[in-house]
């Protein structure tokens, strides 16, 4: 019998690829100059501290080098990127008031439906500005604040809280794209959950980049009071263009004593996107930070959510899946710093690469000298679906005391012919057998995702696997 090969198709991106006609009310010229940053600051009516912060960040940006240790960023030319595009609508609290084309885009992505069914609040950003923000009344009554960053900065009650936390965890000096973010950031969400308040159902922000050659630089700031509890979901997508788009968002999460935050992300950017995102959490005593991260889109990604375990007995768990197809080089992982005794971290990731795609798992676990009695476990598994695809594992550990329990496991593999034969002997076609094995591989992560995303991920995998045999 001749051996057949299954060709695995690309993700069906039809839903994501529908482009709206671009008719912004306002945009800056492409490139990055002090004039452009001034212009953004002025049009956003920044307070003085923010205006100064932006210019300072630009200066830092100009003095930092483009990272050279990861996937190539040669295709990204900042002189071609439009950093600020305001959609032709103010922010609304009611979908009926959002212009039809923008509203239809979010309808197709299922956002208003999810809001009705399973969310406590929704923010929707379109290019550079948030076009919709709403939170359920009962959640508002608990004292929970969920709004766009611009409103939060000017809020008489929370403005100073924003100022005290904004880019303190991820300073502009952190790396070049953090500095860029500091200079041109726009949009994003601010969440504050007061002490001992538990938000029973999730909040979700969705970021959509519609304009070609544009950048999105949303800032997400979440502050949980002592003993507070929140699940926050972040989704992102964009239609495909032939020019490079850039996403350099920033997420800062403050998890106070005994608080619990679960932060779930599904990233489905188009394959012309450079996704250079920075996420960081500060976890205090007894706090618990859970990351769930699915990376499916973008041309190039650098994404390593970081947790600083600052208080005794604080914990973090990172669960991630990355799926790289043709033309994708996705460099993902996680970082953790154990800065206090008896802290716990668990990193568990899976990656799937196919059709010439590259997945790199990169992580860093640092245990500081004072952090005795810590436990850290890292487990990464990769599956390559063909000979052209690539998978690398780069775990770094820096353990600075002896009283720790650290484990690391890495597995890289392919689908075995015997496994396919076993499934085929039970009636499944070769494509179905492959799809079942890949879906099974992803299953432990899929079950951590919000249910509608888990269903979507499984559909994506099935769509990918339904393949022409050739």
């Amino acid at each position: 019998m001749e051996k057949k090969k299954t060709m695995v198709k690309d993700i069906d991106r039809t839903i994501y690829d529908i482009k709206d006609k671009v008719h912004p009310s306002y945009e800056v010229k492409e490139g990055l100059t002090p004039e452009i940053v001034e212009e953004i600051s002025k049009t956003k009516n920044d307070p003085k501290w923010m205006h100064d912060f932006r210019l300072k960040s630009l200066e830092i940006y100009n003095n930092l080098k483009v990272p050279d240790w990861g996937p190539s960023l040669d295709g990204l030319n900042m002189n071609d990127i439009v950093t600020y595009i305001r959609p032709d609508t103010p922010m609304r609290g009611n979908w009926a008031q959002v212009p039809d084309d923008i509203k239809n885009t979010f309808e197709r992505l299922g956002i208003p439906e999810a809001e009705r069914k399973s969310l406590a609040g929704v923010g929707a950003q379109y290019d550079s500005e948030v076009v919709y923000h709403n939170v359920r009344e009962e959640v508002r009554r608990q004292g929970v604040v969920y709004t766009d960053m611009e409103s939060a900065i000017r809020d008489p009650q929370y403005g100073s809280m924003v100022r005290d936390h904004f880019m303190k965890l991820v300073p502009p000096t952190d790396h070049k794209f953090a500095a860029l973010h500091g200079a041109v950031w726009s949009g994003g969400s601010f969440v504050y959950v007061p002490p001992h308040v538990k938000v029973e159902i999730p909040l979700q922000s969705y970021f959509r980049l519609n304009a070609p050659g544009a950048g999105q630089f949303e800032h997400t700031l979440i502050i949980l009071g002592e003993g507070a509890d929140l699940h926050f979901i972040e989704g992102c997508s964009a239609p495909k263009y032939n020019v490079a788009n850039l996403h350099a968002g920033c997420v800062e999460l403050y998890v106070a004593k005994n608080a619990h935050l679960r932060y779930s992300t599904i990233e489905n950017w188009s394959k012309n996107m450079y996704n250079l995102n920075t996420k960081r959490a500060l976890v205090e005593e007894g706090g618990n930070m859970e990351w769930v991260s699915g990376s499916f889109g973008s041309h190039v990604s650098y994404l390593y959510p970081m947790s600083i375990l600052n208080g005794e007995n604080s914990r973090m768990e990172f669960t991630g899946i990355t799926f790289a197809g043709k033309g994708q080089n996705l460099d993902t992982g996680a970082k953790v710093v154990h800065a206090a005794p008896h802290t716990y971290s668990d990193i568990s990731t899976k990656s799937i690469s196919k059709d010439g795609g590259t997945c790199t798992y990169r992580s860093s676990v640092v245990i500081l000298p004072q952090a005795y009695g810590c436990k850290s476990s890292v487990n990464c598994e990769s599956l390559m679906l063909d000979d052209r695809s690539r998978s690398d594992t780069i775990p770094v550990m820096d353990i600075q005391n002896d009283d720790v329990d650290v484990g690391h496991e890495a597995k890289i593999g392919r689908i075995s012919d015997d496994a396919i034969f076993y499934l085929m002997s039970r009636g499944m076609s070769e494509e179905d057998a492959r799809a079942m094995i890949v879906t099974g591989f992803a299953e432990p992560i899929a079950k951590e995702l919000p249910v509608e995303y888990a269903v979507e991920m499984n559909n994506l995998i099935k769509l990918e696997m339904e393949g022409a045999i050739g």
Binding site: Y422, R426, G427, G440
Partner: protein
């Protein structure tokens, strides 16, 4: 005739393992295939099921009147063939229940009624003395040797094939497990379906009505007889039988 194998020559990586093998299995019959290690027993059953690594250089396999020699494994399964694997693969992330439901849908081409299916599965698991919890466990992952074999027999019962081939299903099982597995085989067997059993041990055959016993040595069937042959092999060993047959 349900299964007709004619002059089958099979190679793996260029090494010929089966040298012109003939075998007929009729409807309702139970056949036993015995032979020393390396004789080609597993090659034969993998070839019948359609493992792509086993290359048919000559001969043919006719199943239920249809030439299946070059069909992919899933088409053979749909035609009514079943193989109980000696070392079934582990499939992480796919539950036994989900796997078997998908399998039944693929084989019958019909949707499976969930409630009735679950009930049936539960009953059959109870008969095999399998804990309910196994339905929700990932297929063969962390199963003991015995549980893997039981899971294969469970699949046979759920799929109810025309011909079930059992590749050393009794090996590595304790006496109690052998008993349960042979009960499962008895439950499957009726006057219309057939069995081809590969085994090293007479234990599993005690409760079965065996019609034919074949001795496979060096890629050929050297002797065929009735169930009395099992005892002869036990007493004299394969080499003596093979020498006498030449």
């Amino acid at each position: 005739m349900l299964l007709e194998i004619k002059n089958l020559k099979v190679s793996v990586d260029g090494n010929t393992i089966l040298h012109g093998l003939n075998l007929n299995v009729g409807k309702g019959e139970t056949h036993v295939l015995m032979g020393p290690n390396g004789a080609g027993k597993s090659t034969l059953v993998n070839t019948i099921m359609g493992h792509p690594e086993y290359k048919v250089d000559e001969g043919s396999i006719i199943f239920d009147g249809k030439d299946i020699t070059h069909l992919p494994a899933n088409e053979r399964a749909k035609a009514g063939l079943f193989l109980s694997f000696q070392n079934p693969e582990e499939v992480p992330g796919v539950t036994l229940e989900n796997f078997m439901r998908t399998s039944r849908m693929a084989i019958t081409g019909k949707p499976v009624k969930l409630f009735a299916y679950k009930k049936e599965l539960k009953e059959k698991m109870a008969e095999l003395n399998m804990n309910d919890g196994y339905a929700e466990r990932y297929l063969n992952v962390g199963f003991s040797g015995g549980e893997k074999k039981k899971s294969e027999i469970l699949q046979m019962l759920m799929l109810n094939p025309k011909l079930a081939i059992l590749d050393e299903t009794d090996s590595g099982l304790d006496v109690d497990a052998v008993k349960i597995v042979s009960q499962g085989i008895n439950q499957y067997k009726n006057k219309d379906n057939s069995l081809l059993i590969i085994t090293h041990s007479a234990k599993i055959l005690e409760s079965l009505k065996v019609d034919y016993v074949h001795v496979l040595v060096d890629g050929k069937i050297v002797k065929t007889g009735g169930s009395e042959l099992v005892g002869e092999i036990g007493r004299n060993g394969f080499q003596k039988i093979a020498a006498a047959a030449v």
